[in-house]
Structure formats: structure tokens, C-alpha cells
Symmetry: C2
Subunit: 338 residues, 2 copies
């Protein structure tokens, strides 16, 4: 059986995560049992939610066990199958984790899914046509539920979720304003992703500056917001929210290291009759087929061209992940494993 | 024409409102024009929302103009009518303001409504079977939308909104836990209003103590919350919120004087996938008939016995209002005007 490399969670971070929280190990892949499938991973997905799993605190999901392979989405190819639904050569998406190979129960619901790469590149099933894309779709359609002509804002706009959000919102006739870090990302958001405007949070690094920038970019106020970051950005959005605005709360990456991250003026929720709703897309599997169909269609017709940051080799995953948490990636962060 | 006494807003409060912000004046009621109705007020309603109107800041409603009669709900009797829909002797509810008489356009939609006092006392149309009752109904049924067996919490539980909330929630088979100030109110909430438990916020005056008290009173966690107060109470509720909890945000009386009132840990909204939604009941007039029917039924069948605090005479209104803001009232605060 092939030799497998894996990255384990070695320590729980105290505050900021570091490279020493991870450990690289090697082992042989086990021989397959009946019903199992051996998958060779082509790409590993790195996503901000993984930081939350590294903590030992109450969260929406079981925490990542110490000494176990880090959780993560993967795409790859079936190498060997002892399950009737899969055959060697099938291209598949699953939750294989931070490793080069995984052994999967072929019959377990939702563990492994065959994908069609004729119109959608394999790696996109970890981004625009995968969990991040469906995340954007859920927040937009199920929480914000915009009308054409409304103004929507999304933070981390150049990332996997943000770029999908923009394409989905434009398809519904909305004005879409992104927030991203640095002039390159902002230029990409407007010129390549087709957003109507993008605000550089490095140039507008406090509540007052962000609020003024939002006022300029959203002359009719804000009707919907998709929050990936939290902190002063959410405060500033609420200052510019219209009556009956809706906020889809997807991530608060600004607080993942444990620093306090208060919402400064929750009375604005009342004053503007705002709805704010947290969600986890994996709890809404019933919408995935519809969402994936729309996202694949946007990719196939050229209306969604997501950008990818690709780190080379499993050993590069920890540093690429830490960079992602700092916003140093540009677009969907992947690790190429072969 | 009869002599009328009125209370005007004389100054905008700087921080806490004071008795000097109000001014009592007298004038004759004007002669009626065609289509007008003269109403003698029996009761004036005092409500926390009025404090928000006294500020000159952006809020959900136009601010109360300086030098004008303070806004407020009233019940009374038609003295003279030059509109076909009303006759002398009709008992009516309206927004007559802080004065003894008002002249109303009989045909203006929503300004004046005849009420039936055979099963519901006139004053109740300002409380349990009026705006506060509909407020509780809206938050409960349209935002929290509870299932039987769920645990719901309401702050300011002994007040007009809280007591209606309790009766409506019990009618739906929920466990209802109140929060109120002092042992007398807490005893009233459990013994007379029929709540399952009541927490005294004076005995649990910080986040940790309130969170522990909520844990004891809500052994299965919190599924829905109706917020009238804000501040550390809302923080504590979120610490005990179950997945998919819903928070109806109706008031934040703790912040009405302008002090900062941050939400300490909005990441809990994400971790527990909470929905929080601000609302103003006057924007949802379409639900009033259904809500008022249910509330009148609860009163008529003895399942909702709201308590009233009655101040005597218009001149007592400012002090009674300031006391209300401090939680010194007990039940629905009214001013008897005759």
C-alpha cells in the first residue's frame, strides 16, 4: 500500500496559532476492507473554520482531537475501491483531512461524492462549487434574501466565499460592495469579480473611517451584509444599515484567537429593525444540490472566475493556513498534494 | 369648550431624563371642524419607547418635537363628534398624547378606534389588549415562533409586555422564565402570572451571576428570548442559548440614556446559530387584529390578569414616567386623567 503523509494537531493554540501546533508524520495506508475506498488527494482545502476547531471550547462542532489528522475538505481520485459505487479513476470530493491519502467508507452518507470535471475544474469543488460557494449561497438566499436593486456588503470579498457571494448577488440584480485588505485585492474584486465597489480595510482601519467609506460606497445605505470577519467592520455596517437590513453571520475571523470582540452598539439592531443570524452551512444539506447547480452554472458560463492560492505539498499546509488567518492568501487557499 | 391641560417636551435630556424636561400648560380645546372628534382621556399610557423619542438622534421614529405635547397612547370617551363613525359616549383608544382632551380627525386611518368594554376594562386597551400586548404577541409568534416544550425567557417580566408574553407563551405549552427587579415582582411573576420561574436581576447584577441563575432556571437551555432591557442580561442569555435560539429585540431600556451598551460576545450568535431581530410593532399593523383577538380572549377567560400602576392626574405623569424608566413601576404604568 502507498506511503501516506499526514498532519496532526499536536497542541492547542494559546492565543494565536503557530507552526508548532502541527506535526507531520508518515505511515502506510491500511489494506482496504470490504466497502472501503482508497482516495489519493489532489488538493486539500484550507478554511478559516479550522481555526475554531483547534480550540477546546464550546463551538458549533466537535473540536479537533489532539494527535489526530487535521480535518479538511479534499478532492482527488479513487485509487482502489471495494465499494460498488466507486471505481478506480473516479474523481471525488470528500473530507479526507490534511493527508495525501484517505480510506473512506464508500457507503457512509455524505462522505464521498463523485464530481464531473468537464465544465468545472476539480479544485473548484473545494471552493466556488463546494462548501465556500454553498456558504455564500445560503447566507444570500436564505438569510439576506435580497430584492433586485438592494445594496449588499460582504467582508473578505476576495476570498472563496466572498467571490461566490458577489457573483450570486450580481445575478440577482443587486449592488454589491466588497471589503478586502490591500489595493491588489480591491482591484481584483472590482475588475475581475465585477463588484460595484471595494473598500480597503487597511486604509480604513477603524470604525469611523470604515463607516465613512461605507457611506461613500453605499449611497442608498446597506440592505444586506454577509459577515466573515466581525469586529469594527460589523459595527460600521450597522451604522449604515437601512431599516429591515439582514446580516448573515458566517464567520468572525477577527476573534478566532480568543481576543474579546464586542459589538459596540447593539441598539442599532433595534433602531434599524435589523435581523442578524448565525449559520453553519453543513447543517443545511438540503439546499446543497440547488446551490451547487447554480454555482456550477455561474462557473461554466464564465460569470464566476474564482482565484486560487496554491501551496505546494502537504508540508506547506500549516504555514499556508496561518497565512490564511492573517489574510495573506489571495482567493481560495488550496494545498496541492501531488 | 372645556379647558385642557397638556404636558410638553421642554428640553431634550442630556443623559438621564429629569422632571425639568417637561412643562405643564393649559389652554382651551378648539371648536370642532367638520370630521373632527373631541375625546376626553380617561387614561394615558406611559411606555419606555417615549424615552427614545425625547432624543434628537436617529431612531426608528421621528423624534418628539420640542414644545409639543408628548406623544402617548390614550383611552377615553367621545365628548362631541362631527364625524359619522363616532358619537358622544363611544369609548375609544387612540394616540391622544399627554393631555386631558384631544381633537382627532375621525376619518384618519388608525387614529381612533372604538373598543368594547364588556369583557375587557377600558384601561387594558393601553396594555394587555393594546400596543404592549401586541408587541409581546409579535415577538413571540413572528420572531421566536416557539414549539411546545421549548424554554423562553423574557426580561422586564412583570411589565405590560412581559406579562402578556408569559400568558401567550404558556398558552403555547412553553416553559417561561421571567427576569424582574426585586422579590415582590418576582413573586408576582411566578404566583400571579404563572411563569415557571423568575430571576431577580437585583440579586444577580452581573454577567456571571445572571448566567448562573439562568442555568439553574433553564436546565434545558434557552430556545427563545424576548429582550426589553439589553446590557448584561442579553449577554447572559446568549451564554445559555441553545443552537438555533431566536431573540426578539424589543427594547434596550438599559441604554436609553446614551451610555455605551456593547454586546460582549457576538461570536456566540455564530457558535449557537442564533437569530436576533429588532422590531417595532407599529410597523406590522396587519397582525394587530389577530393579536388583539387572542389577547382579549386570554383576559376574558382569566388567563391574563395584568397588573396596573396608576398615577393620579396629568401633573403626575412626568415623575411616573421617570420612575418607569428606573423600573419603579409594577405592571402597566398608567396615568388616570379624570
Amino acid at each position: 500500500m502507498p506511503r501516506n503523509h499526514q498532519i496532526l494537531l499536536d497542541n492547542r493554540p494559546q492565543g494565536e496559532a503557530t507552526i508548532d501546533d502541527f506535526r507531520l508524520v508518515a505511515s502506510d495506508t491500511p489494506a482496504l476492507q470490504d466497502g472501503q475506498v482508497l482516495v489519493r488527494h489532489h488538493y486539500l482545502s484550507l478554511d478559516p473554520y479550522m481555526r475554531g476547531r483547534m480550540n477546546d471550547s464550546k463551538s458549533y462542532a466537535a473540536c479537533q482531537p489532539l494527535g489526530q489528522v487535521m480535518i479538511g475538505g479534499t478532492v482527488g481520485e479513487v485509487v482502489e475501491s471495494r465499494h460498488g459505487a466507486f471505481a478506480a479513476g473516479d474523481q471525488v470530493v470528500g473530507m479526507g483531512g490534511w493527508q495525501e491519502y484517505s480510506v473512506v467508507e464508500g457507503g457512509a452518507p455524505g462522505m464521498l461524492r463523485k464530481v464531473d470535471t468537464r465544465h468545472v475544474p476539480l479544485s473548484y469543488y473545494l471552493g466556488a462549487v463546494g462548501m465556500p460557494g454553498v456558504t455564500a449561497w445560503y447566507g444570500l438566499t436564505q438569510i439576506i434574501a435580497p430584492k433586485a436593486g438592494e445594496t449588499l456588503v460582504v467582508s473578505a470579498a476576495s476570498g472563496a466565499v466572498g467571490s461566490a457571494f458577489g457573483a450570486l448577488a450580481k445575478a440577482r440584480g443587486c449592488r454589491v460592495v466588497g471589503i478586502a485588505g490591500g489595493p491588489d485585492k480591491c482591484r481584483y474584486v472590482t475588475e475581475e469579480l465585477g463588484f460595484d465597489a471595494c473598500i480597503d480595510h487597511r486604509e480604513h482601519g477603524d470604525l469611523k473611517a470604515m463607516s465613512q467609506a461605507l457611506k461613500a460606497a453605499c449611497p442608498d445605505g446597506i440592505d444586506g451584509h454577509f459577515e466573515n470577519v466581525g469586529g469594527y467592520i460589523l459595527d460600521a455596517v450597522l451604522l449604515r444599515a437601512n431599516a429591515f437590513a439582514r446580516v448573515a453571520l458566517c464567520g468572525m475571523i477577527a476573534g478566532y484567537d480568543g481576543q474579546p470582540l464586542p459589538l459596540m452598539n447593539p441598539a442599532l439592531l433595534l433602531i434599524n429593525r435589523v435581523k442578524i443570524e448565525g449559520f453553519i452551512v453543513s447543517e443545511h444539506m438540503e439546499v446543497w444540490p440547488e446551490a451547487l447547480r447554480e454555482l456550477a452554472g455561474l462557473v461554466a458560463t464564465g460569470r464566476l472566475h474564482p482565484r486560487e492560492s496554491i501551496a505546494q505539498g502537504l508540508a506547506a499546509a500549516p504555514q499556508a493556513f496561518l497565512d490564511l488567518l492573517k489574510g495573506r492568501n489571495f482567493g481560495k487557499q488550496l494545498v496541492k498534494l501531488m
